[in-house]
């Protein structure tokens, strides 16, 4: 059994918010740019990217930091989206506060129920059980009458967020929906940042490295793992809420293993164990898919090639690329010391 050599740095709590604040500020100015950048189409695309970023961030907590690889995360995303759509009134705008709480709450509740059952399994079996439960949720939503079947269900009016009589933001306006999404993104990133800096957050990282050791040190690891599972499930629900509000349409495919697989792809692509990785991975995945689709009918070839290329050349993901460029940007010609590390999860046999 070999241990994985991981640089603790990259798994450390997220650093100063300076970079994040800069990013937020930059993104907030998007609507102000003239066409062809600040168009309604791009604002909606922006919201789509942001909901995927939140989804990826939620999975990053579970996979990248706690080391629990879930192939069923889309279930929580989808259940929240369905909750909003099915519970919203059919002929008028629903109460946004309540719908938000219900959406995130149902996702977290489902995560709690599933988490309690799956926390005992390990490795590839954990992957498969999480997949199994996600598939169960998929088939409930696909086959049981009342959910709309394979054609899905529609959200006809975007929920309203009111304070007393005043309408806080009008989500029908593309700009306001975009800023609302940006706000949710900021909320998610800050929440995760706080959690990961805390003792609990460090415990999660410790569990990822060596669960036995953590248990020996007196930590109730099962509880921590469950907590991580539920928190990431709830945040996935937040992403699902945003998705339903933006697109106005839900469909069983939101819970499919393809969706779960895509989320995993995004964080591996971006870089595991790093919140920036989730952001970069999700954004590039969504935007590149859009871009390639516009370019060619056979865009999946380009995407597949891009994925293969990234994994082969950038074992630490896109975040690794930024790190590799940094010394060059600072004028140093010598590359950084130390081999790029491979963030592995299985106790892989190495013949070397």
């Amino acid at each position: 059994m070999t241990t994985t050599t991981t640089k603790l740095d990259s798994l450390a709590a997220p650093r100063l918010p300076a970079g994040w604040l800069l990013l937020l500020a930059l993104l907030a100015t998007l609507p102000a740019w003239p066409a062809p950048i600040g168009t309604e189409f791009h604002l909606e695309l922006g919201v789509q990217v942001l909901s995927m970023v939140i989804f990826a961030l939620s999975l990053q907590l579970l996979v990248g930091y706690t080391g629990l690889v879930s192939l069923g995360h889309a279930a929580y995303f989808g259940i929240a989206a369905y909750a909003v759509t099915l519970l919203a009134p059919a002929s008028e705008a629903g109460n946004g506060w309540w719908l938000l709480v219900v959406a995130v709450g149902s996702a977290a509740l489902l995560a709690l129920l599933v988490g309690m059952l799956v926390i005992r399994t390990r490795g590839v079996y954990f992957i498969m059980v999480t997949l199994a439960f996600a598939q169960l949720a998929y088939f409930v939503v696909h086959d049981v009458d009342g959910f709309g079947g394979s054609d899905g269900a529609y959200l006809y009016f975007k929920p309203e967020f009111r304070l007393g009589e005043r309408l806080l933001f009008d989500l029908q306006q593309p700009r306001q929906l975009y800023w609302f999404a940006l706000g949710l993104f900021a909320l998610t990133a800050s929440l995760l940042g706080l959690v990961l800096r805390s003792r609990a957050g460090h415990a999660l990282v410790g569990i990822r490295h060596n669960e036995q050791r953590m248990r020996a040190a007196g930590y109730p690891t099962a509880l921590y793992k469950l907590g991580s599972f539920v928190l990431s499930g709830g945040l996935a629900g937040l992403a699902g809420f945003l998705h339903a509000v933006r697109s106005g349409f839900v469909n069983p495919e939101l819970l499919s293993w393809h969706q779960s697989g895509n989320a995993l792809l995004m964080i591996i692509l971006g870089g595991l164990g790093n919140l920036w990785g989730a952001v970069l991975g999700a954004a590039s995945f969504v935007l590149l898919s859009e871009w390639f689709q516009a370019m060619s009918k056979h865009w999946q070839l380009l995407l597949g090639g891009f994925i293969i290329g990234t994994v082969l050349l950038l074992p630490r993901g896109l975040v690794g690329l930024a790190d590799m460029l940094r010394p060059w940007l600072r004028g140093r010609l010598r590359p950084r010391r130390g081999k790029p590390t491979v963030l592995g999860f299985q106790h892989k046999e190495r013949t070397s």
């Binding site: 800069l22 990013l23 930059l26 054609d151 106005g248 590039s284 516009a294 460029l325």
Partner: protein
Amino acid sequence: MKYRTATLAMGMLALLTGPLQGQAQGADKLKVGLMLPYTGTYAALGTAIENGFKLYIEEQGGKLGGKSVEFFRVDDESDPSKAVDNANKLVKRDSVDVLVGTVHSGVAMALAKVAKDSNTLLIVPNAGADALTGPLCARNVFRTSFSNWQPAYAMGLVAAERKHKTAVTITWKYAAGDESVKGFKESFEAKGGKVLKELNVPFPNVEFQALLTEIAATKPDAVYAFFAGGGAVKFVKDYAAAGLKDKIPLYGPGFLTDGTLDAQGDAATGMLTTLHYADELAVPKDKSFRLAYAKAFKLQPDVYAVQGYDAAQLLAAGLKAAGGDLAKRDALVQGMESAKLDSPRGTLTMSKAHNPVQDIYLRQVTGKENKSIGLAAKQLADPARGCRL
């Protein structure tokens, strides 16, 4: 740290500008957005619809309402989960003037929602979702094909007339399948028949074996099936292979045998289906249409091509009434509502809910054709339940 942010931000902005479509804004062009399946089980249908649409435009000298036509295409893959985003590409990114689509009823519902939200004109050249000209009907949504109810209701009448007392239905579990079965059930049971079981298969699954065994065990007088495209080919063949063809008569709307006879071969011989179109109709327009289509595309046309052709005709009628000006929406809609189309299927008019009022033919498979052997229902209009137009 800041470098990372900078590179990230630049990168994301660069990527955002990627999906731009810098289309020249030609004031004289009519931008038509085609949202059709170009891949998957309904791919042949999508191609036929586009061919039919283009044929009409060519016959008008390449222009519609005096304007040249610019096409924007999106492959909807018959996937409802991507439908809203696909539709938005045409409406928001390409800013089309007219949306034409689609085949799959679930996708069409999403398309209709986007069309209504953005007040874009939508012409549906196939998808039969009853709701589109029912509770979700709208001034800017038209259909030149059928509602799922129409051919199914007619088939129920035929089955009852042929003295069948019991039936089993089987279909894909999605809007079109469910509505088709409901339409059949409505007329069949109204005339004294009884539907024993309603079987279904998830879309687009084609593994029918277990259910065929179930049908054989239930022993109904008749079987009503709704499938189309690749699924129709497989079902009819499997039905024959299970030994059911000669024991329990198989009925269905025409999609079961339209465009599929080459692949189905003997398995389909003698089958009765109902549809608003058939081969060898005594309609003069049909003969000239078939010749023109075969010449242009080296293929025989089918009902989907006819629907595409009529979609273009309908649009032209509207444009004519509006004097070629799309901004005159009221005149455009009026023109389309009152249009009397010279369709290869016969004369076509629109119901108040913007669905075709048409004859439903009873056809029988003879050789490689669906020959009309009579009328199953005359000038049948969809009841448009829930439509407030």
